[in-house]
């Protein structure tokens, strides 16, 4: 039985096949930026030449398709219909030209404080229709408390749309501006993603792999089944860094607070583990010029990588953040961090002689000894990585908490171990160790950790449950599930319901889960008081399938 993992990155596409006893095949091919499908085909073809197709059970795919499409603005026009009510001016969050604000409002408990203006809504839809819009996003303020206005908009749009995203279906977390941009992006990439998904299915059929299960990676380090991803393509953005982090989990047995570095060509990605688990971004990831509600692992990127150019300004040596072509070892002209590492004999790759000659010429040109230049360049890079890491850990430790208990308990992250992967990992290991004085490890197979992470990571999902016993209502926005509850509904009932719905949702996605990975991440119950008597309870429960890998090996 084989699990395949493919990570389509900016420069390389990595693919692995993992069997019960470990890595059975690995491939690295160049990514064709304008034809991601062919990169996937090529790597898959290579894998198939080394393995028995009949043993393949599953393919997990991390692709930059949605990310590229958004970053390059290569997506279709979306009709965005919002209803805001009091607060910030919704026009501040205008994502595109077909952006319409409809009068109407709900308050923080989900009560309607102003009816949705149907006339204005009809007008907005007509205007979108005239612009040839075929995909729509409908977002109203506080829709995770009450989706009725979004549903009315959906109903009114009806046949005008090939696809509609409703804000409350994305997540139950509150953040109206982010919900707008997330729903917008989801619509914008919907068609291009679905074409890609069709092509993937067709390709697998051609290769005789029609029966295998296909999952798409998400930025939170988990996967979603291909069928589900067709409805929420926005969840596939920025899955690359997450794949690498999950790879480290598979390759190393992480139990302490740790720092993970993925040193690439142009950037170093920094991730922090609390105990054995990766930290998740509190709100969601930023893309384009908008923050979103797409759940992601907390990964901080800085402009230091193997290809970062070395420069000298006023006698001080700097590295990055620019990449000015490849290293001299690979035919470039300006020395890079990699060339400095080659000079110090920490690293041997590319054309060593050419690299050393170019490096010493550059040093001589700046009246510096080559040894000193290399030391200072590497020192600068390690210092930058060190300072950014400290700032990141401080920021995490400063994160607000809302109860006295949490504030006084004051759990702080204190990293005890460092894991490094990526091209220059082995070469920089000792320099990093000397700076941090922490146990530093470079796991085996680190160069395909991303694909290994992709292959082994499990399907994740999260949901929020919101109950108001005064109204006798329970609502799970992301599932669109609304149910009447008795007045004596308690937090324990809510936790049980949330977990049951989470596992049932997994079942619907045909994912087997025994529930051991399901966890309640937060849960609270507030007595609601009117006058001087308690009129009900306001209950909020969040639960998730925690990101993780199905097996590890090292």
């Amino acid at each position: 039985m084989l699990l395949l993992g493919i990570d389509v990155g900016g420069t390389h596409t990595d693919a692995v096949a993992i069997g019960p006893d470990g890595l059975e095949a690995q491939v690295k091919v160049a990514t064709e930026h304008d034809n991601l499908l062919s990169s996937i085909k090529n790597s898959l073809g290579e894998i198939l030449r080394h393995t028995d197709p009949a043993r393949i059970k599953q393919l997990n795919l991390s692709t930059t398709l949605s990310t590229n499409s958004i970053v390059e603005g290569n997506y279709e026009d979306v009709g965005v219909i919002v209803s805001a009510g009091p607060g910030l001016d919704p026009h501040s969050f205008m994502t595109c030209k077909d952006f319409h604000v409809i009068p109407g409002s709900l308050d923080h408990r989900g009560s309607e404080t102003k009816r949705l203006d149907n006339l204005a809504l009809e007008g907005a839809i007509a205007s979108c229709r005239n612009s040839g819009i075929k995909v729509y996003a409908a977002i109203t303020k506080f829709s995770p408390r009450n989706p009725s206005h979004e549903k009315s908009i959906e109903l009114a749009i009806g046949d005008n749309a090939d696809f509609i995203t409703l804000g409350h279906q994305i997540t139950g977390r509150l953040n109206f501006p982010r919900r707008i941009s997330t729903a917008f992006y989801n619509c914008a990439v919907w068609r291009v993603f679905n074409k890609f998904a069709d092509a993937i299915s067709a390709t697998l059929d051609e290769m005789g792999l029609g029966q295998i299960k296909v999952n798409i990676l998400k930025a939170d380090g988990g996967t979603m089944p291909l069928d589900l991803s067709r409805k929420v393509p926005v969840q596939s953005i920025f899955s690359g860094p997450a794949a690498s982090v999950m790879g480290i989990i598979a390759l190393s047995n992480i139990t302490h607070d740790s720092i993970i570095y993925d040193i690439g060509g142009t950037t170093t990605d920094i991730a922090i583990f609390a105990g054995g688990s990766p930290l998740i971004e509190q709100e969601g990831i930023h893309i384009g010029s908008h923050p979103t509600l797409v759940r992601a692992l907390k990964v901080h990127s800085i402009g230091i990588g193997g290809d970062s150019a070395i420069s000298i300004m006023d006698g001080s040596v700097r590295v990055g953040p620019n990449r000015l072509g490849p290293s001299i070892a690979f035919g470039g002209e300006i020395p890079t961090l990699t060339d400095a590492l080659i000079w110090k004999d920490s690293c041997s790759c590319g054309n060593i002689e050419q690299s050393k000659a170019g490096f010493s010429a550059f040093a001589a040109g700046n009246v510096m000894e080559a040894d000193r230049l290399a030391d200072q360049a590497i020192g600068y890079a390690v210092d930058r990585i060190h300072d950014s890491t400290r700032a990141l850990v401080d920021e995490i430790n400063q994160q607000p908490v809302y109860t006295i208990h949490e504030l006084l308990e004051n759990r702080k992250i204190i990293p005890r171990k460092i894991y490094i992967m990526g091209g220059p990992a082995q070469a920089m290991k000792m320099d990093v160790f000397r700076k941090f004085r922490l146990s530093t490890e470079v796991p085996q197979n680190y160069d395909v950790a991303n694909a290994i992470g992709a292959a082994l990571t499990r399907t994740t999902t999260e949901l929020e449950l919101f109950a108001d016993t005064e109204r006798g209502l329970m609502f799970i926005p992301s599932l669109g599930h609304r149910e009447n509850i008795p007045r004596n509904y308690r937090i324990e009932d809510a936790e049980k319901d949330a977990m049951n719905h989470l596992l049932a949702h997994l079942g619907e996605m045909h994912v087997a889960s025994d529930g051991s990975n399901a966890q309640i991440t937060s849960s609270s119950s507030f007595n609601m008081v009117s006058g001087s008597s308690t009129v009900g309870r306001n209950i909020r429960v969040k639960c998730q399938i925690k990101p993780g890998v199905d097996r590890t090996y090292s």
Binding site: P86, G87, D89, P177, S289, Y402, T403
Partner: protein
Amino acid sequence: MLKAENSLGIIFFPAFDWAISPTHPEREERLLYTQDQLREEGLFDIEGIREYKPEVASSEDIERVHFCFPEAEAVATRSHCISAGGAIKAAELVMSGERERAFALVRPPGHHAMKTVQGSRGFCAINIEAIMCEYIREKYGPKRIAIVDTDCHHGDGTQDVYWHDPDTLFISLHQDGRTLYPGTGFPKECGGPKALGRTVNIPLPPNTSDAGFMMVMENAVMPILEDFKPDLIINSAGQDNHFTDPITNMNFSAQGYAALNSMLKPDIAVLEGGYAIQGALPYVNLGISLAMAGVDYSHVREPGFNPETLRESDEIIDYIATLCEGVKDVYFTPPSESIEGVISGEWSVRHRNIFYDTEGFTESQTESLLLCDHCRGLLKVETQREGGPMGFGLEIPAAACDKCRNHGYSLLEEAQVKSRYRYIQLINRRDKDYLRYGF
């Protein structure tokens, strides 16, 4: 993307696990809907606005300000220390230059806590603004500070803490004390003998709305502030002047609160009261935050807001116009004698009974200020909770003269020898010497 004109730090601490009692207005639920509103608005995504975690105030921070009997740990719970710590964090953000302004959205409140603390009154145990101001002065040196209290209740605690301090201007806008707790806050209460005109009370008639408040701001508060030239402006941002507040009778709105802060431009705002937790707080807190950050707040409107029906009568406007002139006189031409205290030898002495409504007991207190020609004077307090032991407090101010300082220590020695007091506390701001005996 929205960008704040002034960088703003918000210390949001709802204390979701603390209440005075399960159905008390000061309960877990109080800032729940405010949190929902701020999150849903995406307030912390606005460039320049950032959320911070509070510090925890230490006993020293509290005892730098208050005479606490029997001791700081007994009168202030952990929640009070965090709430005061939230204010301290706000001060630290502004003083260190990390943020231009800061808003401590914390609970429980503190403006009814007086100089001497024997327990809780008006939902307050320790005065979080005063603890913050004295933290600033201890760490960053002497500062002229103006505290503008916009809570609907008279800030009698803050008034009492700064009664004798000429470097702190305390202005309180509140519902007239003849109609609301704590029943004080009249213009004639204008400071102790050494700080006359540094306490300015502006009691407003019930049903005052946006126009009335803004008139007071424009015609009284701003001219006074312009003259006082404070280094720092603090807003004690109580929100119970709101037209939906269940325990008061005013007609102020979220727009009004935002406009007020837009004009006042406080360096630091600290949440005080405000118990219309669903209809008012989410919108008022949003309005204040946006106004402080310099972001457009014109769309912030609470449900049920109708400026026509809320508008005050012409009679009220006329009354307020007259009142503004009167309170300006309080500051610009203060009376030559304080209304409180009788001169006894070289001391000005006040005898008072203070009722602690939250806990239901009375404290009797004798406060004496040494009338000194060289400094604001040594302060001593004798206090006794009914049926309880006697406590004695001595405060030597930061700018005390040698005579007052030495006199303070000789009084301290005398008090110890006489053993009349169960507890003795010394606050020596000049030498940063803080002592407690008998605890």
